[in-house]
Subunit: 442 residues, 2 copies
């Protein structure tokens, strides 16, 4: 029989253990932090009626849909994000769920994108949102969640850039550019990547005079501490009702976050942050790594006026953000923050003599019950071969015992990186392994 | 504008928090136990080339495939299980990964099945396998993993039924039925559901005389302890080389599992377990709940000779099993083992006075850092409304403080189910909450 060539589709990839272990670690930390704030998990189907998804992300997004006719002649498609399914979900269930409703949703989405930019056609999103309230407390909490999540992932050098679309809208009103808001903000969103000149040129296409564009850019790029910027905005634009509301919410956000224990350095008022999506109407967030700003925002989001207007008449305002899992993983890899191991258990128990398999598994199970992962090698191969396997996979310790050791009630513990071996009584094993596996002792 | 009707596809469903919380809990326990044995996570794409999936699960499975042509005119389909993608994955990567290779894989699969039997077209599988070894140690470990997983899920009353296809093959050889093995085992697999008469009738269709079928059924249903059955099998069929090998492996499995600490009651030698799939060649497992046997096996698997023969010439023997997540959740619901809460955090902090939002979040963050989930209510609504929200969601405790309490440095802690309220100093809060949240004090 001819063999079928084992291959994945273009733009898709397998996750072997060395990629999947850090991925699962990130997902677990995200769940942990989201839950600690009372966000509850939901899930929705990968497949939806095409009409639910079409026209929600623009023409480009429609073209990228994995869309087909199912067995029942239904027009269906794979979800391209988690926001549209959440809007459909909220419209369907909010009556029963009640508000405020806080949910997180981690899951894969599919886009038939051009893969040239190193993007994949299947990737995970990690969203959290509070809907059914306009309270600024919910906006503030998004900043706290992002901060605590980044810290939980071991990141110390990052900054959450925060702004409010109402401040930008007020500025544009005062500059006489209210009619060109969408085009101006789309251009502004490219500032970090494309630079001032490109932004001024793009604004020019929307009939914004260069001098006006300059003035706007000087405003949004104003230097100073958060409170200096807030003071200047209040002084210059405080009489504009829209801007004043945005300034008030930002002022409260920064004060409350600091009182709640977020050091001021982690939160940066950045009037240039617009977020391209027309969708956002209030607070907006982007998160940058100090050591890798060019990678872009690793956690972004904002406030919107109405989540599910296409599916229900019930007005559902909300605020949330999304962790850029793949981008953050790429960044952590570049920052050498990821362990490259391909084992889930740190300890390999060598199968020295197959007649002791029951005793090996007995000790291994006792250690597992104490929270220490232990793999028992399945074949009684030469010790050298088993240790080679352990080193290749990234096990940290190996346990060895045969008839002699069982007679004496001891185990040999081999520290693989240090190439050291200790012999210790069975009764000390748990304590010794726990201490040898502490991160600081690596 | 007309509203789009918010609805899910037939056979698909949303998971609101009260369904998703226990689901995530089960998945986490499965990961935890799999990892503790050294199984490492992998993932593969939801979409594969159709040729990878076609013909792997029989005609029925081909018909149920969600198959379509993608943007690049590729013939693609959604995976219908995790075994076929694992075979493709192994063929592609095993050279680099090396053997033995232990992996777990949790993820959704899709089948356009008839939904009348309460089945869904999207469901999760939770597989774990060791490949690249024929060692019985790997088979034995499957039994240990199943046992430890069920216990970790809080199940105490279950039994892992174990058999070996080689014992059955040997029996059939000795009964002169070697030529009809596949048909006989397919019939036998229906014994628990369809009963003896139906099985004898089906075997009749494969030219098995009723007397012979009776004799076979009497053998596979023989009563007795594990060791009694093993002794009788050895006595009657020990001269058949195939049966003898199966008996030897089963004998070792039962002895080692017991030595490793699995109480003998949890493991039942059951010669009637065939598992319908042609795929299995050695040890086979099924797991039944003592209080709900009719729900069927909640964790099944077995040994196979060659995982990936369609994709590679490298022979990859292995053994593994799959947790029936949805079936087990249904069973646990019926056994009233699932909490019905829709919050991820057990504590609601009432927003009594909005000017203290910073202090609320400060204390909430300190409690979160200590491992206690705390949601801060976003709006300063009436206390009664906030407590009603807390009760509806299943919060267990509410924290209340206003100017008076902050002056005195105290918090009011309300136990929602007991309707009791205590006032305590801020410094006691963490300890008191932890003690109030202990499972036994509910």
């Amino acid at each position: 029989m001819d063999l079928i060539q084992p291959r994945t589709l273009k733009g898709f990839r397998d996750y072997p253990p060395e990629l999947m272990i850090p991925r699962e670690h990130l997902l677990e930390k995200a769940r942990q932090v989201y839950r600690s704030y009372g966000f509850a998990p939901i899930d929705t189907p990968a497949l939806e009626y095409a009409e639910i998804l079409l026209g929600k992300g623009g023409d480009e997004s429609d073209k990228q849909l994995y869309r087909f006719t199912d067995h029942g002649q239904r027009d269906v498609a794979l979800r391209f994000d988690l926001t549209v399914p959440f809007a459909r979900f909220a419209a369907e269930h909010i009556g029963k769920l009640g508000t405020p409703f806080k949910r997180y949703h981690l899951g894969p989405v599919w886009r038939g994108e051009n893969t040239q930019r190193g993007r994949y056609r299947e990737f995970w999103q990690c969203d959290f949102d509070t809907i059914g309230t306009t309270a600024n407390a919910a906006d503030i909490e998004v900043a706290l969640v992002i901060h605590d999540l980044m810290k939980a992932l071991g990141l110390e050098r990052f900054r959450i850039h925060v702004n409010n679309r109402r401040v930008l809208n007020g500025l544009l009103e005062e500059l006489g550019l209210a009619g060109q808001t969408a085009a101006v903000l789309r251009a502004l969103d490219k500032l970090a990547k494309a630079g001032r000149d490109a932004v001024i040129a793009e604004m020019g296409m929307a009939a914004v005079a260069p001098a006006q564009a300059e003035r706007l850019l000087n405003l949004v790029e104003m230097a100073g501490s958060n409170s200096e910027i807030l003071e200047r905005l209040a002084k210059d634009f405080g009489t504009n009702a829209t801007a004043a509301d945005g300034i008030r919410r930002l002022t409260e956000l920064i004060a409350v976050a600091q009182e709640a224990g977020v050091p001021p350095d982690f939160l940066k008022l950045d009037v240039s942050i617009a977020r391209g999506l027309d969708y956002y109407t209030g607070t907006v967030f982007e998160t940058f790594l100090t050591d890798l700003p060019a990678i872009g925002s690793v956690c972004s989001g904002g406030r919107y006026d109405n989540l599910a207007s296409l599916y229900t008449k019930q007005v559902l305002p909300g605020v949330g953000a999304s962790l850029g899992l793949d981008r953050l993983l790429a960044a952590m890899e570049e920052l050498k923050m990821l362990e490259t191991v391909s084992t889930s258990a740190p300890v390999l128990m060598v199968q020295f003599d197959p007649k002791f398999l029951g005793r090996y598994q007995q000790t291994a199970r006792a250690l597992r019950a104490a929270g220490i992962g232990v793999e028992v090698f399945p074949d009684p191969k030469k010790i050298g071969q088993q240790l080679q396997y352990a080193e290749k996979r990234g096990f940290r310790l190996a346990l060895i015992a045969g008839a002699d050791e069982f007679d004496k009630g001891v185990w040999k513990v081999k520290h693989l990186a240090k190439r050291e071996e200790k012999t210790m009584p069975q009764s000390d094993l748990e304590r010794e392994l726990k201490s040898a596996l502490l991160p600081e002792s690596v």
